[in-house]
């Protein structure tokens, strides 16, 4: 995209990329001062990397505190066989990001980690930790 096409009648490859190609000279107005030509729309769920590191996901959410988490991520009555006790503390965004990428949540066994990650994947809008979880899904980098 750094070609130096001298002929205005030729279609520059860079123009093809943006589809502004013309086969003859087109008028181009630079516009007056203060007439903005660029508007940027940021996703509502986007957070700064700093808040991504510090946002928290409680397992389970405070509304169901004390309940156990089954292997499939569902929240079940305390003491249910095969289910896991609530996490001792909320997990940080970066810990969950690592766990979603194949890592393990701190202080968990393999099966416990699987259950907690399944719970987090099922988080619904309005549940504590959902916004944090959703922001982990945002493309960035």
């Amino acid at each position: 995209m750094s070609d130096e096409t001298p002929e205005p009648a030729e279609k520059a490859p860079s123009e093809e990329t943006l589809g502004t190609g013309a086969t003859r000279r087109r008028a181009l107005m630079l516009g007056a001062a203060g007439a903005a030509a660029v508007v940027s729309i940021r996703p509502a769920l986007a957070q700064t990397n700093a808040s991504l590191l510090t946002c928290e996901i409680p397992v389970p959410d405070p509304g169901r505190a004390g309940k156990y988490v089954a292997a499939d991520g569902s929240v079940v009555a305390p003491g249910t066989s095969g289910a896991f006790a609530p996490a001792g503390r909320p997990f940080k965004g970066f810990e969950v990001k690592q766990a979603l990428g194949g890592g393990q949540l701190p202080g968990t066994t393999y099966e416990q980690n699987q259950a907690y990650v399944n719970y987090i994947r099922k988080l619904q809008h309005g549940t504590s930790g959902f916004t944090c979880f959703a922001s982990l899904q945002m493309p960035r980098g």
Binding site: S14, L28, M29, V39, P139, G141
Partner: protein, 84 residues
């Protein structure tokens, strides 16, 4: 400008929508911003070279270095263009 493969560019009549995958931000550009971006290319140009290349490609009735600088600054603020 940002690497071409990190952008999804869609033309919407009078506007060009550019989705930057890395940031999740969508930029709506009106003329002359898309033309400036295309002319700059990935390699980038100096302001003088950009002005010359634009003048070679387009009929610029109101060419004004200050207006071009302002349009460039908008693109820099958006993150689509970086200054050298």
């Amino acid at each position: 400008m940002a690497r071409a493969e990190s952008l999804r560019i869609v033309h919407l009549d009078a506007f060009t929508a550019i989705y930057h995958r890395a940031s999740g931000i969508t930029h709506l550009l009106a003329s002359p911003a898309p033309e400036i971006l295309a002319t700059l290319g990935e390699a980038g140009l100096s302001r003088a070279d950009l002005a010359a290349k634009l003048a070679a490609q387009y009929d610029m009735a109101d060419f004004d270095a200050a207006a071009l600088a302002e349009r460039l600054d908008e693109l820099v603020v958006s993150g689509l263009v970086a200054t050298a």
